[in-house]
């Protein structure tokens, strides 16, 4: 049973051209032949394209299009003729002042007969989101990576038997469709009714019967016993997923479908300390790549929640992580953050601290003095420059039964010399990066000396690397 009747009616007036207001009309309601939804996920925007067959008479034919209780942007509604276009001409479009969710087209026809018309418009309230389910093997070397899309319909309209296309990418809109739809178009009363979910418009009996036929046909289509293919293709800066066949998405319902299946995607386990990315903690990451070698790479991965499980070898799963990933282009790495690992212990310990290279100032003299340069220091001279040395260790203990790779990034403010045998590299002018491998059961000290040139000694804001103990 259809709980909602459609809110869009297209009325072909049999009578002569529309004149002002009339109280008695006879109308027919051409049903939708097909409907296509193109849903964007970066904005609350859906392009609806519907095809209807209209019977025209020679002369001027008024067509009335209305959309009560939906979130359609009236400025976006367009009419095109798919057949007999050479004999049909759109003369004008009228938006009646007293019926905000309605417009009338006057179409001049050079023939008597049927023509297929396409009506397109933007609506808000339809959206979609991706999500992913990954299951690692017990050895933590490969994972399944399945993508899903879930379509939400809060548009106020049941879309029955619709072809659905989903757009990945960030589109530019200067005004929100929902604002355009609401702007003086929906009465307060209607809005309240929509919020209660009670807005139902009655359609003419024939239209309802046709709609129900369409629904039946839609469910017959949905009974296909194979999961639907989702065709993925690029379009300009966007990516479009087209769901095979048609879908019925009732108002206020949502529906989830499989987007792709990835099996045996190889991944690396890495440990990273990068406070700006992961907070001040050593975190465990599973890193794989969205490419064909991983059994993925058929499509960029839209923003979405990833739920990462592991086969726990006891005929069950363990949850490892639940996180949101940002859009991953084809070929890019996917980072799954498992958080700190209780089996890999990280401590940051200051081992020693001392000062040298002292410089002094003398009252009334614009000269600096250093005892290490052989200068004589007087009793009233003041320390104005020095080098502060700190010997630190990043101490790692690995209780896992495999060697682990750890990657550190540490940032420093000031004029810094970073001295270490760790073969460090600069990530940026103030951030040092160094890596190490820790064997199973090993406790390793990653030791380095940080010299901060302080006071008068500070000449730059950067880190200089130096090899040495």
């Amino acid at each position: 049973m259809i709980t909602r009747t459609f809110a869009l009616t297209l009325t072909a007036m049999i009578a002569a051209p529309v004149v002002a207001q009339r109280n008695v009309d006879l109308s027919t309601v051409p049903p939708r032949d097909t409907v296509q939804l193109t849903i964007y996920n970066s904005e609350d925007l859906t392009l609806v394209r519907e095809i209807r067959t209209v019977t025209f008479r020679q002369g001027v034919n008024p067509l009335q299009f209305s959309w009560a209780n939906t979130l359609i942007d009236s400025t976006s509604v367009q009419l095109r003729f798919k057949t007999r276009a050479d004999q049909l001409e759109l003369l004008d479009t009228t938006f009646p002042h007293d019926k905000p969710q309605q417009l009338t087209w006057n179409v001049r026809s050079g023939m008597d007969g049927d023509a297929s018309v396409e009506i397109t418009y933007f609506t808000s309230g339809l959206s979609w989101a991706a999500d992913y389910v990954c299951v690692s093997d017990p050895a933590e070397g490969k994972m399944s990576f399945d993508g899903f899309v879930r379509i939400y319909n809060n548009s106020g309209e049941d879309y029955e038997n619709a072809q659905v296309r989903l757009v990945v990418g960030t589109i530019n809109l200067v005004e929100k469709i929902a604002d355009l739809a609401r702007r003086g178009v929906i009465s307060e009363q209607d809005r309240n009714q929509m919020e209660r979910g009670g807005g139902v418009l009655r359609a003419p009996a024939r239209a309802r019967a046709e709609l129900q036929d369409a629904v039946t046909a839609g469910f017959a289509a949905a009974e296909s016993a194979a999961p639907k293919e989702i065709v993925k293709e690029g379009l300009s800066e966007y990516f479009i997923y087209t769901i095979e066949g048609t879908e019925t998405i009732r108002n206020t319902w949502s529906k989830r479908m499989r987007l792709f299946t990835g099996t045996d995607a190889p991944f690396d386990v890495r440990y990273r300390y990068r406070p700006e990315e992961y907070g001040a903690q050593l975190v465990r990451l599973f890193i794989l790549r969205n490419d064909e070698a991983s059994g993925l790479g058929g499509t960029p991965l839209p923003d979405g929640v990833v739920r990462l499980f592991k086969d726990n070898n006891r005929d069950g799963l363990s949850l490892l992580a639940q996180q949101t990933i940002k859009y991953v282009p084809v070929g890019q790495e996917i980072e799954l953050n498992l958080g700190p690992d209780p089996e890999v212990i990280h401590e940051w310990v200051l081992l020693r601290s001392f000062r040298d290279n002292l410089w002094f100032s003398r009252s009334g003299v614009n000269v600096r003095y250093s005892p290490t340069q052989g200068h004589k220091i007087e009793v009233n001279d003041q320390v104005i420059g020095w080098d502060e040395h700190q010997v630190w260790t990043d101490r790692i203990r690995n209780y896992r039964d495999k060697p682990i790779n750890v990657e550190f990034r540490r940032s420093f403010d000031g004029d810094i010399v970073f001295r270490s045998p760790l073969n460090p590299a600069l990530h940026d002018y103030r951030t040092v990066q160094f890596n190490a491998t820790i064997a199973p059961g090993e406790k390793k000290d990653l030791q380095y000396r940080v010299t901060t040139k302080s006071g008068y000694n500070q000449k730059e804001q950067h880190v200089v690397l130096e090899a040495g103990e």
Binding site: A222, G316, L351, R355
Partner: protein
């Protein structure tokens, strides 16, 4: 009216999550006459290994017809994370496939469209994250009468406020043994997850002004807490896994066949090879008075000074057994005490090795800020008088201005 084997919304009894399956013959979900099946749970696993969330996996045998079936999963009054629910066919997973999932508005339910090539029963696994079904850890330590060793028991407490009964559910806390127990609504189930016997224990008395303060500031008498110290490694009969945070209650064999309660403390997360320290109370029989015996300010150059500092500890052990006292000094705190201000710089210091205390330094546990010494104290004498021992910590605090 014809009768369609179909599906319906379950009645909202107490709480239970339930699965309803049937052939999709009629779309009419609101039809007045329905035929439904209610497959019971065949197996439940409660995965407690994640630190923050609980994963429930349940298996049910669902009757499927050839073609497309609708399987409804519905729950009430439980905090199942709707977004996390997964459905996996275990029987013939290559051919029994989930086509899509539909989520009705304002209902704790969802419907899987499941295609099956043939009619018959299919075992499926449904997994979801659930709130209000969580765990905590508790520890019980029973020390021997001589306090040289103890028996440590670790318990997992499963708290079921999820408004759902789980009969004979398998549970795994992330390490150790797997359990299989039923758990009812609002029950807490305490399970012994590990037991360690003959664990060596060391009683540690600590004098650390910066951490524990004074017992009597006027007399400069330090508060000396007593801790039980266990090392989480195999040499000390532990080291199987890291200990999770939880309350530890400590008892002692009183020598009369019963036990006495000594106290309790929070056992902090303790990785393998780290020490478990359980604070049991203030040891008033170990008296430590701390004074600054020397503060000499020596000019180096200009306004640059070294400070020659001796911290004196007068120690009396009124116990009738020898003990080891841990003395710790924070160099930042000591410098603040000496200079009367904070310079914002690290403390550069040198331990002057002209006192016996320098030989008692624990090099492994000392850092650039905190020095730790282990000082053995003899038992009180036969005349019940304590031997007053004096220890001196001699440090040079360098390059201050």
């Amino acid at each position: 009216m014809s009768v369609h084997p179909g599906f319906m919304k379950p009645s909202r009894v107490a709480a239970a999550a339930c699965v309803i399956a049937g052939m999709l013959a009629a779309r009419d979900a609101d039809a007045g006459i329905k035929l439904i099946t209610l497959p019971p749970r065949e197996r439940v696993e409660i995965q407690l290994d994640h630190p923050n969330v609980t994963l429930v996996e349940e298996e049910r045998v669902v009757p499927l017809n050839a073609g497309v079936n609708e399987v409804v999963f519905a729950w009430a009054n439980t905090q199942i994370d709707k977004e996390s629910i997964q459905f996996r066919p275990l029987s013939d997973p290559e051919n029994v496939r989930v086509l899509s999932v539909s989520y009705p508005p304002n209902e704790n339910a969802l419907t899987w469209q499941v295609a099956s090539p043939k009619a018959g029963s299919a075992r499926v696994r449904i997994s979801y994250l659930i709130g209000q079904l969580d765990k905590s850890f508790a520890y019980e330590a029973t020390a021997a009468n001589d306090e040289k060793s103890l028996t440590l028991r670790q318990y997992v407490l499963l708290h079921n406020r999820a408004n759902e009964t789980f009969g004979d559910a398998g549970m795994w806390p992330g390490f150790g043994e797997r359990f299989e127990r039923p758990i009812g609504i609002n029950e807490t189930k305490q399970l012994l997850s590990a037991k360690f016997e003959n664990v060596p224990v060391r009683k540690v008395y600590t004098a650390d002004l910066s951490e524990f303060g004074y017992l009597d500031e006027g007399k400069k008498q330090l508060r000396v807490p007593m801790h039980y110290l266990l090392k989480n490694d195999s040499a000390n009969a532990l080291g199987k896994f890291p200990f999770m945070y939880g309350k530890a209650r400590v008892y002692q064999d009183d020598g009369r066949g019963t036990t006495a309660f000594l106290g309790e403390d929070w056992l902090k997360f303790t990785p393998r090879d780290d020490e478990v320290r359980l604070y049991l109370g203030v040891a008033k029989d170990v008296v430590v008075k701390r004074t600054i015996a020397r503060r000499d300010q020596n000019r180096v150059l200009g306004n640059l000074y070294h400070y020659d500092v001796v911290v004196k500890y007068e120690i009396e052990n009124f116990k009738d057994a020898p003990v080891v006292l841990d003395i710790a000094e924070s160099m930042q705190s000591l410098r603040r005490e000496i200079l009367g201000r904070d310079t914002g710089r690290n403390v550069e210091f040198e331990l002057v090795k002209d006192t016996p205390m320098a030989e008692m330094l624990d090099k492994e546990k000392s850092t650039a800020d905190r020095l730790l010494f282990h000082v053995p104290l003899p038992a009180r004498g036969g005349d019940q008088k304590a031997v007053k021992a004096t220890q001196e910590l001699h440090v040079l605090i360098k390059n201050e201005w």
